[in-house]
Symmetry: C2
Subunit: 226 residues, 2 copies
């Protein structure tokens, strides 16, 4: 029983800090998005495409979560966007405490949209609230259409599933209809947005969804809390 109690304590502490982060972000008028995916699904590429399309839009900043390296933060900063790297030092997901420390280092008054790129992992990130307003996951055609059945929590916890690498559809056995059915079987309300970060296809549909969600602000979260 000891292990279970400790896990509850860890998750309890995380919930508390996540609530503080959420309050802090809301007070500063920052909309935070928690972006989750497998390694190599294209999270950073999607963020780069998003930056490119939203140049005239909301003021962006990015928090990059990785076990090691600053490759992703360097790519984002190369686009002139504030990017903060969190190296988890082995941990397989971000937690609210890590994000809380990042918030202290960010100029929140100058940010409208904060994208938090989680560690590449379809499992643990889904269990940790970071204080975000919105959770989105990125799947990739190359991963196969059976991923919703294998990682049901992740697919259940998000508002949108962005399916990347649709340029590879002709070269793969990915069954788009089976994928859509599986996602909606777990999460009937999830938006499914098909994109190719490589060709740019579908990126406008993604940023349109994101801008609409940003405009709706906290409303959905508030509903779900009510």
């Amino acid at each position: 029983m000891t292990e279970i109690r400790i896990l509850q304590n860890i998750l309890g502490a995380n919930e508390r800090i996540a609530a503080e982060n959420r309050q802090r972000l809301r007070s500063a008028g920052v909309f935070a998005l928690n972006l989750m995916a497998s390694p190599g699904a294209g999270k950073t590429s999607l963020i780069l495409r998003t930056i490119e399309r939203l140049r005239q839009g909301p003021r962006l900043a990015v928090v990059e979560g990785d076990i090691a390296s600053t490759i992703d933060a360097d790519r984002i900063a190369g686009q002139g966007v504030t990017a903060l790297q969190i190296n988890t030092g082995g941990a397989c997901h971000l937690d609210a405490n890590m994000v809380g420390r990042a918030l202290e280092a960010l100029p929140l008054g100058e940010i409208d949209l904060l994208i938090v790129e989680n560690v590449g992992n379809l499992v643990c990130p889904a269990e940790f609230d970071l204080g975000e307003e919105c959770r989105v996951m990125l799947a990739s055609v190359a991963e196969g259409h059976d991923k919703p059945q294998k990682y049901p929590l992740m697919f259940s916890e998000v508002e949108a599933v962005v399916l990347n690498k649709i340029d590879l559809l002709p070269y793969s056995d990915f069954d788009l209809e089976a994928f859509r059915r599986a996602v909606h079987g777990l999460n009937p309300k999830a938006a499914i947005i098909e994109v190719s970060c490589r060709t740019g296809e579908g990126i406008e549909a993604w940023t349109d969804w994101l801008l609409a969600r940003l405009a709706a602000g906290q409303s959905r979260t508030d509903e779900s809390e009510a």
Copy 2:
């Protein structure tokens, strides 16, 4: 300090059970391979290709680790090979205890090669010894060539890196030389074997490596323990 002590206890218990599993497998003459990868890199597809090529070779069995579902075990069993599914019920990696229970359920006297497919995750599986003789990871062209820098422990811990989906090379920005350099920078002795489970290219090189490693038996593990 409490958390650290508990983690040590968990890892300590895992090491103990892993050693028991290793002893049990060696006594029964079973060579166990721990196959790790991101979700969707193609672990089950590689196992299916391996089964296909080794029909006249060593007697195979497969343990499938997944959070949920029996999709993979069903695919393997469909090939007439003994397949045991472990559903981790949320845990993001297999541990020695789960595998130990699987060993109790398997006819070890009738198995030469046991392939253990770990949960799709590039982080946590690398930290847990299952009692295997050999660790192999599967990466995929679609994940990008920067994964060694981002998941250094996984790439450091394996004897071979199988790079799958090389049929997608013409449609991706994957830099094969950069990938090889990064892998050997972390792990100079690692074999790198390029395959396409879709077209079958490179599968013979993989099974040749595997058969040679199987013939060498415990030797490498013993060296590393000395």
